[in-house]
């Protein structure tokens, strides 16, 4: 096993860039007001980010949309691990059925 110095430089540069994004929010939050529209915006942030991350994968085609609908229905009543199993199984199944 080897660790090339140029590879390590690239990895450390990526790590610094990524940590900057992680710490910036903590530093920024102290400067934002905690009321009004800023509060509304920050409260909407979790569902907004999570939806944006997965929307292209879930709306990629008919099989994925059907699997997404099944997963949403499962998520309203089942624990997370069961939801994941149902999501995987339904994606595989719908891809066989509708391609």
């Amino acid at each position: 096993m080897t660790l090339d110095p140029v590879n390590l430089l690239a990895i450390v540069a990526m790590g610094l860039a990524t940590y900057t994004t992680r710490a910036a929010g903590l530093l920024l939050a102290d400067r934002l007001p905690r009321t009004g529209r800023i509060r509304v915006a920050l409260e909407a942030l979790p569902p907004a980010v999570l939806t944006a991350v997965i929307a292209p994968a879930v709306l990629a085609g008919p099989a994925e949309m059907l699997a997404g609908a099944v997963t949403v229905a499962a998520a309203f009543r089942l624990p997370l691990l069961a939801v994941v199993a149902i999501g995987v199984a339904s994606a595989a199944g719908f891809r066989l059925l509708v391609g």
């Binding site: 540069a13 990526m14 992680r22 529209r37 944006a52 991350v53 997370l80």
Partner: protein, 244 residues
């Protein structure tokens, strides 16, 4: 709550809550390791990247862009752009870290991923977020990521086609369930609709990870436009009362 919360019970809760996400990332970790091996990265390179960067999306992008010698400036810029969403996430999470001393905030920030952040935000709806919960959940996901990405390099192209078995859908399934944890009635509808439509449109038109930022901002804009600025705080989730 029947018993007062203790660090060990909070740590156990963190481990239990993060377990499904931990399992869901295994196929991606193996796939990432397999692709890295094809690009000539060693297991030690992978271990360094998975621990120093620890951000799946940017690691996939980096392996895709990887050449020899490594284009470090382009890789760093790509990592910065794809991880810009962390700024928004951290700004929201910072308000729930009252129980974290400064060093724990900034050490804990390295463990912030989409999954641990969403779990922490969800938990903060019901009860105070504690360092025990955050570090237990984050550490399990972190160690799990090292193990499976390195195994992916060593095993090569074991999971060449995760979509054939639906494994790629484990990730959206986790996020669908987490997103629904933030459902607060009709007000959440426009947020999800605006975010999804914008993300899909930008994903189709603009290369890179801009769709996440664009979708998130559209969702936030929808919330601000549909909520009066002086609206009362939404009712807390129907969970047991905690701290005084």
């Amino acid at each position: 709550m029947l018993a007062p919360p203790s660090p060990s019970s909070d740590a156990r809760a963190g481990l239990a809550d993060v377990l499904p996400a931990t399992l869901a990332v295994i196929p991606f970790a193996l796939l990432l390791g397999g692709q890295a091996a094809q690009k000539g990265l060693s297991a030690l390179d992978m271990l360094a990247m998975s621990s120093i960067v620890f951000a799946g999306g940017s690691q996939f992008l980096a392996v895709g862009l990887w050449t020899d010698p490594a284009p470090w400036a382009a890789l760093a810029l790509a990592a910065f752009l794809i991880n810009l969403r962390h700024v928004l996430m951290g700004a929201s999470l910072a308000r729930k870290l009252d129980r974290f001393p400064a060093w724990q905030r900034f050490a804990g920030a390295h463990l912030m991923t989409d999954e641990t952040w969403a779990l922490a935000e969800r938990r903060a709806l019901d009860r105070p977020l504690t360092p025990a919960y955050w570090f237990a959940a984050g550490a399990l996901l972190f160690v799990n990521w090292q193990i499976w990405t390195v195994l992916g390099v060593l095993l090569g192209g074991l999971v060449a086609e995760p979509e054939r078995y639906g494994f790629d859908f484990a990730f959206p399934a986790v996020f669908i369930a987490l997103a629904l944890g933030f459902w607060k009635g009709w007000r959440t509808g426009p947020v999800i609709a605006a975010s999804a439509l914008t993300a899909v449109a930008v994903h189709a038109l603009v290369p890179g990870a801009w769709y996440v930022i664009a979708g998130a901002l559209a969702g936030i804009a929808a919330a601000v436009l549909t909520t009066p600025a002086d609206a009362p705080a939404p009712a807390p989730a129907p969970a047991e009362e905690t701290a005084p």
